[in-house]
Assembly symmetry: C2
Homo-oligomer: 385 residues x 2
């Protein structure tokens, strides 16, 4: 018997309370009962998005909503600016051409946030672009981009918006959509929303909706205007058959988040991130990022250790599943999540497991050193007696 721990940055663990709620008998999605549940869920979701606009639920993964954010803005021949500093930034650049949309790419060194001057220069050189597409948290490099400053740039342009993939950021960090002028915010169910995958959420500004009216790439399933019409007050259901059990689960998740209080949710994530960073640093593992994300900590494995084998050993022999490296970081890093249904002893488990695994790989490690450094941060969560 080896107990299993899922400590990856999505899918994350699902709270027992949510699993139980989703196990209730199936509810039909064209009934007043579902509409009542849906309307309540949408209203709570908009609180987490911090928007007065509609937060729409799409039955797809986050990638589907990323595609929708392009197709509902653009027509063939249009151009967008993409911030590409990792695997998810790169994804924008892969989606756009399938719709005949051109890409101006700002290539960012992995682990670095995009420089605002580079965005500014790209906008100046390409004043006709429809939008800047960027990750709030680039999960592949555990790096946060300066989305607020980017939105401030496009705010001054009448036909250009800022589109934010916040799949591993919404519900993790405080990112008030309306206040910051983010035109599109996208999230996914299997991250801070603590659900199984299969549901994406997207909210759009009035400016985006105005520009969207003339977009011709929309297609059918991902036509956001059709969804908005259906999901608004009065109909209160999705245009197409939804992942109803996930929406039921989302209803429960949002109650949990709002009961905890969003300030406390953000504070918890930050504490866990700071403890994890302290822990891996105490083990001599260098962070990947110069602007580390609050959703996951990525760190290089010690020299001489085969990161791919270490990752597999942790998962298959020790029962602890992290994320490894993507792209050129494959085999060189571990990514330790702390978003969603995550609490302080999950950080302790993560660090203890890494220490013991490094020991088994013959790497120089002081058992307990990373744990102790994390404890010194985590202990502040509790009052002195």
């Amino acid at each position: 018997m080896i107990k299993q721990y899922l400590l990856s940055p999505g899918p994350t663990m699902v709270p027992e309370r949510v699993l139980l709620r989703m196990a209730h008998p199936m509810i039909h999605h064209r009934t007043p009962q579902f509409s009542a549940l849906f309307a309540e869920t949408k209203q709570m979701l908009e609180q987490v998005f911090q928007t007065d606009n509609d937060a729409l639920m799409l039955t797809c993964s986050g990638t589907g909503a990323m595609e929708a954010s392009i197709t509902n803005l653009c027509s063939p021949g249009d151009t967008i600016i993409v911030v590409n500093g990792g695997k998810f930034g790169e994804r924008w650049s892969k989606i756009a051409p399938t719709h005949g949309v051109g890409v101006v790419e700002i290539t960012v060194e992995w682990g670095q946030p995009v420089a605002i001057a580079d965005v500014q220069a790209a906008l100046a050189a390409n004043p006709e672009v429809k939008g800047v597409f960027v990750q709030a948290s680039e999960t592949s490099t555990t790096t946060e981009h300066p989305i607020r400053q980017i939105a401030a740039l496009t705010a001054e342009m009448p036909s250009c918006v800022t589109v934010v993939d916040a799949i591993t950021a919404l519900g993790v960090i405080d990112m008030p959509m309306d206040d910051w002028g983010l035109d599109v915010v996208i999230s996914g169910s299997q991250k801070a929303f603590m659900l199984p995958p299969g549901l994406a959420m997207i909210a759009c500004s009035e400016k985006y909706w105005r520009l969207s009216a003339s977009a011709s790439c929309k297609g059918f399933y991902f036509d956001l205007a059709t969804e908005r019409k259906s999901q608004r007050k009065g109909k209160d259901t999705t245009a197409w058959t939804p992942a109803a059990s996930l929406i039921t689960g989302l209803n429960e998740v949002l109650k949990m988040m709002l009961e905890e209080g969003m300030e406390q949710v953000y504070a918890r994530h930050l504490l866990l991130a700071e403890a994890t960073r302290a822990g891996v640093s105490a083990l001599g593992m260098k962070l990947i990022s110069s602007a580390p994300s609050v959703s996951a900590t990525g760190a290089f494995v010690p020299d001489g250790v085969d990161g791919k084998a270490l990752f597999a050993f942790l998962r298959d022999t020790m029962g602890v599943t992290f994320a490894g490296g993507q792209g050129h970081l494959q085999g060189r890093v571990l990514r330790i999540a702390h978003l969603g249904y995550y609490d302080l002893f999950d950080v302790i488990i993560a660090l203890s497991a890494i220490e013991m695994a490094l020991d088994r790989f013959g790497a120089p490690v002081t058992l307990g050193a990373g744990v102790a450094a994390a404890q010194a941060v985590l202990v502040n969560r509790f009052p002195r007696v």
Copy 2:
């Protein structure tokens, strides 16, 4: 949000696989379907008891089976020897008089195992006693008694048996009932069997059944001969309405245990016990017991710390539920379980939590010291790469 961890020596955590199995639709207990399940469960249970006799399932807590072990052996006016080295030893002495059965008590200092010479002397002084009643593991003091040697003494007496409360020992340590000549072995569902409370198990030797024939305290619900007749091959069900979902869960638990292999189950428990002992010792906490049990580790809280407040802080503020002290140990000790659905990161959580709680109580503690000592033991579970 505070995640909850149940690290007490019963009730213990229930594996997800077992929770899901018990959530299946209710099965009627007077059907061929239930009888097939029951027969399979009983046969597996007898493997864990290591007996060719019948392992019977009783719908009651362990205390019910303890009472049955007295009432099915004795008649009013009979006498038994009780080893009283803690709250559970004391329980025998409380049950017997309610049936007019006399008690010769061997009082043992809490935290000490009974001295065989004392049992020998008591038997010599009271040759007419019907049995010696003893805990394999006295949970209140986390101490193991020498049950094998006691059974060797009564084996030579034609009308005296050894009755073992193995509620926190069966499935934790290797205690072959038939080989060691234990006449009665009792267990409960919420310990190594990883189930919710509500089911007790009991197996009796041929010698016990022979002596039982003339016992007049039996009563009705706890008449073991009636149960044996019903639970044996052919009927394959309980005499009275059973806790059917717990028996369904037991079926799943036993499959898990036998799949893991009992040798590995015992080895896992021992490793977790040794790691926990190393951890609390590194924190300067003295063990309660000179013969520490493999099911739970009891240790004194540091001088100057209010153990009752520490226990409550761990449970209510940190989400980690241990057991405190009973009787005169109340407020002075913590008991940390490692029986049942318990794996090595549970030990890490336990020690990390205690360290941080001690810190908050202003006790001198080096964060990570207990964890590191435990890791040095636990790491041996994994192969070097």
